[in-house]
């Protein structure tokens, strides 16, 4: 029959490091209740940890790790920097989500905004041609006069018919 303490020697260290399964944990704890040698071994491990932990913690407190983390983050960002195509795709992805549920209402709203605001954008500025009242004037048979009084808001277009054209009432 094997000595149980011999088989537990490796397991006890893993138990101390909390690197055991539940079954192994139960087995070690059952064994510790009856084995003084293993209890001593465990206690010595705890004392050793305490002995090492204090100076290590003290040294770590004194050490500034901020710059190390900054360097690590810079390295990560440099390695993970996407290509320009991926950047554009990601940027477009913000505006054109692929989900139809979002895309269709978004397009509809955009069209609505365009329909409402387009007259404002395409409002024609009055040109010299637009400001003139008479756009076109033609008479093959008579002389025609156009008169625009300065003060009056009226334009007069006058056709001079010959006396022979006068019709009876």
């Amino acid at each position: 029959m094997r000595d149980p303490c011999t088989s537990l020697s490796g397991l006890l260290e893993r138990y101390f490091d909390r690197d055991v399964t539940d079954q192994e944990k139960r087995f070690v704890e059952d064994h510790l209740q009856d084995c003084q040698a293993c209890q001593d071994e465990l206690r010595s491990l705890e004392e050793l940890q305490t002995l090492l932990k204090v100076p290590v913690d003290e040294a770590a407190r004194q050490e500034d790790f901020a710059w190390v983390w900054q360097k690590i983050e810079r390295e990560i960002q440099a390695r993970e920097k996407p290509s320009w195509r991926e950047s554009i795709r990601a940027w477009l992805g913000l505006f054109f989500p692929s989900r139809r549920r979002v895309l269709i209402p978004a397009v509809a709203v955009a069209l609505l905004i365009i329909a409402i605001t387009s007259p404002l954008f395409f409002k024609e500025t009055p040109s010299q041609l637009d400001s003139s009242v008479v756009v076109y004037l033609e008479s093959d048979t008579n002389n025609v006069m156009v008169y625009e009084p300065e003060k009056e808001n009226v334009t007069v277009i006058w056709l001079f018919e010959g006396p022979d054209k006068e019709s009876p009432t």
């Binding site: 139809r100 509809a108 609505l112 329909a115 409402i116 009056e152 808001n153 018919e161 019709s167 009876p168």
Partner: protein
């Protein structure tokens, strides 16, 4: 389902915008006037025309033959028969927010004696005159309401 309702609402909202552009009509006032030197009667409603033409012509009488306010639709001619020989035709050519373009044609015995296109803005009027009418002449006073 929600998407369908949204699209339907969108169409309902957009429809008036599109239809108002497609079927835009312009309220147009057309006065047909006879000016002559027979008598000295000036119709009270024609004081503005009398004042406007006073510096150009010495007509002593202004008589209102017709006063019409019509809703003109684009490219639908509106005909005014002022005399059995003279006919006047007014057509809304185009309409923008604060400007309407009209074509005015005057025919005498089926031959066109005047063809003009004019632009009217709010508060502006056009007087087209000259065709003989009895012992006077016919004047067409055109103005638009936007």
């Amino acid at each position: 389902m929600k998407i369908k309702i949204f699209i339907l609402a969108f169409i309902l909202v957009l429809l008036p915008v599109l239809t108002s552009r497609a079927f835009a009509q312009v309220q147009t006032r057309i006065r047909t006037i006879e000016a002559s030197n027979v008598g000295s009667l000036v119709d009270p409603s024609l004081r503005d025309v009398h004042d406007q033409l006073g510096s150009l012509f010495n007509f002593t009488s202004y008589r209102l033959l017709r006063d019409e306010s019509v809703s003109l639709a684009p490219n639908k001619p509106y005909e005014i028969s002022a005399h059995r020989e003279v006919s006047l035709e007014v057509t809304l050519v185009s309409q923008k927010k604060d400007m309407a373009e009209y074509r005015v044609r005057i025919r005498r015995e089926k031959s066109e004696i005047l063809n003009t296109t004019v632009r009217l803005s709010p508060g502006r009027s056009v007087l087209v005159g000259g065709p003989k009418h009895g012992k006077g002449i016919i004047i067409l006073a055109l103005s638009a309401r936007f």
